[in-house]
Symmetry: D2
Subunit: 391 residues, 4 copies
């Protein structure tokens, strides 16, 4: 059954295999009048790109081409199709896995589902993390559109393997982590993460991590009371990312150890409105956004592709064998994963903002378009990059 689309009013459909001609996305439901250029998309794609300092060896140029839906640098209300050609493809890396399914990978389940003879074994085909290019492209559009509501989304890596953030963090720090090659929100953490990455690279191993994404100023009342609660929608969005194994929001799993008198958050007056004292609920109560910061976290498993030899089965003779995955891989998918999580949060929020009529469904006025554009430009300029040339 079709499973390559996400969202109801802001509907994203991705396609493309890791080693096919191109990956891409169709975004249907974007209102007319949103200023949008290929540069906006490239800005976001930069942060999920393989080939940054410590991350991955594959060097895709990731040049997006807009095929439809934009006229005179504005959306027209028609579906926006964007493709990125796959240029840095060395499929020979993948001949071995044709017979030796990689532990931790989708190889064997894909064969089980679709049949060995129909399996696109080149680089994991559709199961490759390259599939997320389309999510980030759509995420760029979603993030921009959400700026109409002055809603800002930013993520960072809360932990990497055994290292984790143990202090308070500001939204500014989180936002600026995008220029950290290991997606750390603090300098001292960055050093620890970098040391881990180096170690993993040397050992031919990899690390897991926890990504956190914070949404500042989310529209109030997003989510639907029963099955489409905001927490459920975000869970689905984020759990659909490759390598994510757990999701929580607010106090998350910790709350299961607590008493009601500890976990219930006090309702208080904040200036002229009502709010919650500690935001234990991470911005979602009764399945609806309540105006507090939206805080979600997810666990990434370590990159499954590692150089260290691992046991598997040779499909030709069903004998035990070993495989050492020598392709170019990140030692921690969680790092690039942060941008993907941000994108999924953006896709979920924009969809629900439209379901609530907070974002116009059909068209933006010229004035609304201008407001969005100004905020976006502020966003692009925000945070001082550590070194421009790293990008």
């Amino acid at each position: 059954m079709p499973g390559n689309s996400f969202g109801k009013l802001f509907r994203v459909t991705t396609f493309g295999e890791s080693h096919g001609p191109a990956v891409g996305v169709v975004i249907d439901g974007v209102p007319a009048g949103l200023p949008l250029t290929v540069e906006d998309i490239k800005f976001e794609l930069e942060f999920r790109k393989p080939g940054r300092l410590y991350v991955s060896g594959r060097r895709e140029k990731d040049e997006p081409e807009i095929l439809s839906g934009i006229f005179n640098n504005r959306t027209t209300g028609s579906p926006i199709a964007v493709i990125v050609r796959n240029t840095d493809v060395i499929s020979s890396f993948y001949e071995e896995i044709r017979y030796k399914p990689r532990p931790g990978h989708a190889d064997l389940p894909f064969i089980m589902k679709y049949g060995y003879e129909n399996w696109d074994y080149r680089g994991g085909g559709r199961a490759s993390a390259r599939e997320t290019v389309g999510r980030v492209i759509a995420g760029a559009v979603a993030k921009k559109l959400l700026m109409l509501a002055d809603t800002w989304i930013a993520g960072h890596l809360r932990s990497l393997g055994p290292e984790e953030l143990n202090e308070e963090v500001t939204f500014e720090e989180v936002l600026c982590s995008k220029y950290s090659p290991v997606r750390a929100s603090k300098k001292v953490l960055e050093e620890k993460y970098e040391a881990l990455i180096k170690k993993a690279t040397q050992e031919g191993d990899s690390y897991g991590g926890i990504a956190e994404v914070i949404t500042k100023n989310p529209p109030i009342g997003l989510g639907e009371p029963v099955f489409d609660k905001m927490k459920a929608e975000l869970a689905k969005a984020i759990m659909s990312i490759p390598a994510v194994t757990g999701f929580e929001y607010g106090l998350g799993f910790m709350v299961s150890k607590m008493k009601g008198s500890e976990a219930n958050d006090e309702i208080i007056r904040k200036d002229n409105k009502i709010g919650w004292k500690y935001n234990y609920a991470g911005g979602i109560l009764g399945g609806l956004t309540n105006g507090e910061d939206l805080i979600v976290r997810c666990a990434f498993k370590p990159t499954s592709s590692i150089r260290k030899p691992q046991k598997t089965i040779d499909l030709r003779n069903l004998e035990e064998t070993y495989i050492s995955v020598i392709g170019r891989h990140d030692p921690a998918v969680a790092i690039r994963g942060v941008t993907v999580v941000e994108s999924m949060v953006a896709l979920t929020l924009v969809d629900h903002a439209m379901r609530a009529g907070v974002i116009p469904l059909v068209k933006l006025t010229e004035e609304q378009g201008n407001i969005v554009q100004q905020r976006w430009e502020r966003y692009v300029r925000s945070c001082k990059p550590m070194e421009e040339s790293q990008l």
Copy 2:
């Protein structure tokens, strides 16, 4: 936007408020020829019922009435509508909350979204856990239909507040926890949970907990590779349950602290087929079920309704005030929650089993109907109830 439906091929729509005339469900997409009676539904409803030994004081009779879709004790392929009248309703309990939103509850977000004047404040209206009656009714049908694939679903409470299971547990023990009034899978744990519940009741407080649901013999290859991965679908299903704050499967959050060489599971030969050595992935790889046991967990927060006074705001004057929620409430929603989690797992799996054509989409043959019925009867008889009269 409509948010009261779940599933694509096995489609469940629930309706009804806690203190309205009735709650109910419409199940659309059930193939014809499934043997089904009101007794099957009552059997499952029993396990989410308020009023069991230590749980809740509300004593609903929960008498389901089937309005459509069944003829001669078999499904016809038409939508199955089932309602349960609300009989034990004392709305006066709720007059106070009309002006004092309860901490931890959906009261305030509902008011923010729908307007104070449109808010059904009686017992939380649609946000009440009573809404889950419809899920369990549909879950009964889903569980039964899944028996065609010989798939069995069972849950238990892995932890309650500070107490937690620390040993291996068999599927049999998990299955039989349904007759434990605190949903414990071990006798010794049951005693600890009961002690906690008593303490909470005395203190006017409540506890959170972690539910775990295990699926034995799930069909292979369920889930779709990108957005509708099985892990994403289950996450959405389970996170949509009131009071659930986190979701994980397999190693879950723990894997974020590990190395790839530790977290990757070896692919091995098992008798005549290929499998995974430790089932670290909890039965889902690449977003698809891989034939191993499906293992999911979720965190429940403590019941928000507690007798202990808590700070809130009086909406009439926006002054600080206190509220003591004196309705009849479970000291731990997680206990009854286990059945609801099981139901959501069943709804998700049956929907995907149909998406994969593993369960017939239109009708069961007579023989298939008979197989299902035999397995269901075995299920109903399974586990020796501790004491029949407790139910």
Copy 3:
């Protein structure tokens, strides 16, 4: 696969068989704050009711019961469930058809699809026109909600068998046809239709007809450019009604015989805005409503249930046999069908008005609620009924 729901933002799910305990509907997506009572629903149900002057013999009381979604006579944003118990059920009429599928009916296709042993043969089960009760209930809500946009929907019977309307008709006349027992918009036509009905009743035969529904002041720009064009959505809505065999809008089939220079409508100035001279396109151009009156027509086949003996096959021995359908049936389903077509137009329009943000997605303000209520009361009072007591 589920096929009992209609609409995306205003989502209607119907259930119930002709001779089961009840028929009903769940309406999900109705914004909060819409004034709504059971009387509003009964008002509309009246016009599809069997048992009016010349139509059908079945005398259902059709007493709707609202189970959810309304509090203090206003919608709350929760799903609205309404059921109507089946009270006037004489299933014995239907024992014969158990073995003799009725020509023109769904009997045989249902058996082919779902299996003979699963077939609810009592009164056509789900294929009965009684299923449309749920549509009309939902249509009442939709019509009322559309009044926020000052949009009015009304239908009449343009032709019955060989008799047809050959003059201009005003919207007023169309609206008031609801009090004509044969749904005629002109007195002289009413007499012709009545004569035909009498003849058919005497002969044990039935007639087809063409219903036309006109929408005054539809919101502009409704419909989506490609697959969800307004003409396509209306076609689906109306063709889903039992006994409808054709659909057209504007010039309809006639235009296929014309030249472009004849069929193209001149774009002209109308007061202060731009419009079309003749409204050849029936209010839809490029798949979008263009502000002109929306005009759709559909063909109803004659009632399939007739007393005249017809050839069929006895399923017990596969021999030729005859059947004379002696149940209580309308000699022209098209008459009651007009209300159902109106309802489907309303459901389609309200859904698209919400997709375009013309109707609020979450809640109506008190003022908006009042405007709607005033217009509805005007609607209820409109047209002088021929004789109150007939209803």
Copy 4:
């Protein structure tokens, strides 16, 4: 709201404007193991191509490029993306219409909906018939997949302006009409149609027509009983095609003039099974396919773009003006439209065949793939083209 997708299990999403970089389609839900090459797609595209003998002047090469979803000439179960670059684009033709909305066209409604400043006026943008390229590409895949059920779809032009078919026609003749430049199923009719086309071309005018599509051997029981009846699904599919103004099946509108005793079709024995004597219902009863030939018809309006001057409004000054549409246009869109109608029938049937489990949802076996391929090759060779070089 998104409106560029069609189908639930075989899900088609189209994108692209007439004068943008490309048009294209993503097909999600195609089972793995279907043999498919770019040649299969080109074969079908040929029959909707502008630039055939009498039809249209635009000469697109229409070279499809497959971007994903195919590996080793077989589908993999991943979404299939296909694009066609727009090469023969002369936008200057369209500068005039920027201020002068064309009668009969979507220009003005698009401006009303999306705003003048966001309107892609080049060639009608998304409202152009060029959008149907994606439908025909997807239709090729659908037609091929349906061959697994030995289901064949073919269409012809039943009438063009005043000329119409008045004799019996065989399925063979209908099938072979694809090689007629005017889509006539009889030689004598072809001559009449050609004469009309010549006349229209000379006069700068255009003609409407009626297309009919016949499906041989459709799977039985397709369609869902209530809202998703096969007649409703086909109506939506076909009414979504640009320029279509009416839809009917079987006896269609004619039945509205008839009596029940005339319109009811006798149920009879046919060899070893039960069937209907005259197939008055066009293969659909109770909303379900009944195994008889599926027969649908639709009305096309005359091409709106005509050289003859027509009245419109100049948007710059709101004064009356004239426009003569001088682009390269078919004098009868109905001709190329036949292939598009066939495609929409195929998309609808394949989707429902999957909903009924008649076509595998996940993968075809090798043997099934071979059967399909053999039938497809027979289809490609069928009918002797009048002259190969015309294509």
